[in-house]
């Protein structure tokens, strides 16, 4: 049986992806925690005295993040106040286990927990959305709403930072996807260890350089896993490639602005979540699914049609007539 590379005399239990070192349990935990501390220090990630919301899904990454932040906060006196923030999408049965895990995190790490539901935030549960849109495309709603749900939750909790459990494998995957999609603005943002969503609450990724394998021991993804098998350094190399890509100054990059309706950060005039909500509330659930140019076209057509429609708003709002009448896009015609 191999011995720990640190010459501590104990038997090794794992081979580190980053270095190839064989480490015993104690030396592994020490190296793991020290690296995250180093990452936090080098990036000056947190201001002393700040409140940090940890995005907690009940999964391995957020559980490890809560554990390691609590440990480092005490060990190195970051003077942070840590809270857990969870999102409940409102899918019957789906979150039962993970919310139980989050509640266990709350008890284990002695941190306050706030659970925000889609119903509270948007007026719709995912179950209600699926009933409206069907089994296809509902991931669009869930994903877009969840992205904002954390921001909104952080805002309501009045915290200074929102920390997510994105690990090195996650970030490398996102870099690859953004390269494949040619999405330069996201490519720039996705490798940052700290990003501002425009609401003044920075999002931070303390596990940015931590390997998934190490988080566990303590369809684009498959490609990455294959690459990692060949050479674990590739994960770090991909992140670095993403960081190093410089964009030609003449290239047009969408600017991050604020949604004119809800004031949350958006690259469009009206954010995706508001478009999706508008579609749901007007009985046009497919409105926001697809390209934003398509949305603009449909909204325009509906606006023109509604001018021609002879019916009154009241009659259009009746459930049975709404589906057949073209003026269902009347802005006041909502449930």
């Amino acid at each position: 049986m191999p011995r720990c590379s640190t010459q501590c005399g104990k038997n090794a239990i794992l081979k580190r992806p980053k270095t190839g070192d064989a480490l015993c349990k104690e030396c592994f935990f020490e190296a793991f925690e020290n690296e995250i501390h180093f990452t936090i220090q080098r990036a000056k990630l947190f201001r002393p005295g700040a409140t940090v919301a940890i995005a907690a899904s009940g999964g391995k990454d957020s559980t490890v993040l809560a554990y390691v932040l609590k440990l480092l906060n005490e060990k190195y006196d970051y003077q942070l106040k840590l809270v857990l923030l969870s999102i409940d999408e409102g899918i019957t049965g789906y979150r039962d286990d993970s919310l139980d895990t989050v509640k266990k995190n709350r008890d284990d790490y002695d941190m306050p927990l706030k659970i925000m539901s889609y119903k509270d935030l948007y007026g719709w549960t995912m179950d209600e959305i699926v009933a409206e849109i069907g089994r296809k495309n509902n991931c669009t709603f869930c994903g877009v709403f969840r992205r904002q749900a954390l921001d909104r939750g952080a805002y309501l909790l009045n915290v200074d930072y929102l920390a997510t459990g994105h690990n090195a494998d996650d970030i490398a995957e996102t870099v690859l996807m953004n390269i494949l999609r040619g999405d330069l603005s996201r490519l720039n943002r996705c490798t940052s260890i700290i990003t501002d969503s425009g609401d003044g609450i920075p999002r931070v990724k303390p596990l940015k350089y931590t390997f998934e394998k190490e988080i566990v021991m303590g369809h684009a993804r498959v490609l990455l896993k294959d690459l990692e098998k060949i050479d674990p350094a590739i994960i770090m190399n991909i992140i670095q490639s993403g960081e190093n890509i410089r964009v030609n100054e003449t290239a047009k990059i969408p600017k991050l602005t604020k949604c004119t309706r809800c004031n949350y950060v958006s690259s469009q005039e009206i954010c995706k979540a508001c478009i999706l909500l508008e579609g749901l509330n007007k009985g046009l659930p497919r409105l926001g699914v697809g390209k934003s140019s398509r949305v603009k076209r449909i909204l325009k057509i509906n606006e023109e049609n509604s001018k021609k429609c002879s019916r009154t708003e009241e009659s259009c709002c009746k459930e049975n007539e709404k589906k057949s009448c073209v003026c269902k896009s009347l802005s006041s015609c909502v449930r």
């Binding site: 038997n11 090794a12 794992l14 391995k60 459990g165 993804r221 896993k225």
Partner: protein, 97 residues
């Protein structure tokens, strides 16, 4: 030869949603290698979607394997010779954070 096989992190879904299995491997001339066990599990315990468990002659990338709580990468992976009462654990990391 009796050994213990466990699945977690989602890998149990491929094995009838049962995490713990007491396995009795049939006698054979050559030693049982961990690589042999993978195919035995595929033929005898796996309920569906073998492509989510195996790839080529090893586990699918993203599944971690522990032999008696030690990373199999320290134990020569598929070439490890299985011993009586060994405990083999498969952890899937592919279901999200």
């Amino acid at each position: 030869m009796k050994i213990k096989v466990d699945f977690s992190g989602g890998a149990e879904l491929l094995f009838g949603n049962q995490k713990h299995h007491e396995v009795d491997l049939p006698v054979k001339d050559k030693p049982w290698l961990l690589g042999d066990l993978l195919f035995w599990l595929k033929d005898n315990l796996l309920q569906d979607r073998p492509e989510l468990f195996l790839q080529d002659n090893s586990v699918r990338p993203g599944i971690l394997v522990l032999v008696n709580e030690i990373d199999w990468e320290l134990m020569d992976t598929i070439n490890y010779e299985i011993q009586l009462n060994d405990s083999i654990l498969f952890i899937s990391t592919l279901h999200g954070g």
